[in-house]
Amino acid sequence: MTATQPIGILGAARTPVGKTPGIDSLTLHAQAAHAAITDAGIDPLAIDGIITFGSFTRDYVMHSAVVAEFLGLRRIRYADVVRIGGASAAGAVSRAVAAISAGRCDTVLIVSGDDQLSGLTRDLAVKGMAENRHYQYEAPYGVTTPAAFAMMARLYLQRHHLSEELLAHVTVQSRRTASKLPDAMYGKPCTVGEVNSSKPIADPLRMLHCAPIADGGGALVAGRGAPGEVVEVLGSGEAHSNAHLVFNPFDASSAAAASAGHAFQQAGVRPADLGAAQVYDCFASVVAQVLEEAGIAPAGRALYQFADGEYDVDGGLPVNLNGGLLSGGHPGMPGGLLHVVEAAEQVRGSARVPVAGGKPVFVHCLGGIMSNHATLILGGGS
């Protein structure tokens, strides 16, 4: 390793995602970390930086220090807990690159794991849900997290004169993609009719528009590596307009567009250059909205493109090759990492269903109620 080598992702791994009772949050962190360190082929004692995101089931004020302590890492020079919700994973990668570039440390472990499905008590589940809703202006009105996303989806459908039945195509594409994987939590193809007759949650969102809660974890090792051996961060962006729905400025230009726009600009890449895209998909509506805000899909057209197969494995731009959170399962804080891990595997050609063909891969993570965004464009791995 020399200071002139490119900085990027050296190792990437995920734990099984689904229902794994009896494996707690710290253990999931360790499993994911071990797998990513093994994947990177580095000496674990070389790790001198750590970034974690906290946990819904077992949180600590000094979360990253506690994870490092449990792993046995004693030479940490840079410890950070990134808490920007679902945007944390992509945000952590850009922070790791910045820390290494600034000479603060050489090798950063980014790791998250949570037993969101098996380990969450009712009290903790309520607390976790409440964090997305303003206690003063939102929670007293019985607003749920799906309800807040439903209100964003409603605006999107109205702006482009789209019927709510079209949202089903995102889930159908997700299930179809997941069916090509051996281990997806929901890997059975489904139909538009099944999605549109699934249990209503908060209009226009139904059960099959929502990512199912899961247990799982993911990890990345960032550092310097030889060109061709490191997945480079060609560009990154981040934008935060608010945290709660009621504070959304509803500006014509969204934070999603700002984040993605900065990443494309820094990378010198255009949407047409991409080989694949990983888009945070806590709800089906979000994927269509982000693809349009990022300039990847024409305004108001993403849902029709989903229906036409544009984002399928054999389509023009394959999206969410790991089945995303919608079909792969949503473990909470690690959710974004699962997207970055898949993107890194796509860049270096080691993905289970490789499609990127050496082209850059777009990763967009988001938190809050579509208010907190972080984007990466990865490339150069093969």
């Binding site: 003063q136 202006y137 939102e138 019985g142 908060a202 209009d203 009621v246 509803f250």
Partner: protein
Amino acid sequence: MTLPGAPRSTEAAEFWNALGGGDGTLLRQECVQCGRSRLPRTAMCPYCGGWESHWRPVTGPARLVTFTVIRRAPSPEWAAHAPYGVAIVEVAPGCRVLVNTDWLPEHADLGRPVVVAVETGDGGPRLVASRGGDEAVSQ
């Protein structure tokens, strides 16, 4: 069953105190420096960076920005009311509040004028939107 009211926190004290002590008129925060209005309360004006503000009554029509009808409630007390409507309402330019609706909104309701009232029950103050215009016409 009594629904929860909004907690009277320091950060929103002026907003709720003015409502509770007055005639139920909704208030907006107006910047002393640039004169623009905002809601919910923020410490600093997001438009000009000014830190001084006044509370002014909201006058003029409110508009339904977006809504949902919640079919799956977050708690037993809300489950007893489900399905129920929740909406974001713009009460003045740059001023938005989240409210319950006293009807189940449909897609055609987007953008429609609504009346926002402050209800004070056992659980504290709450904001509720109704289709004031329609009812006035139908009566």
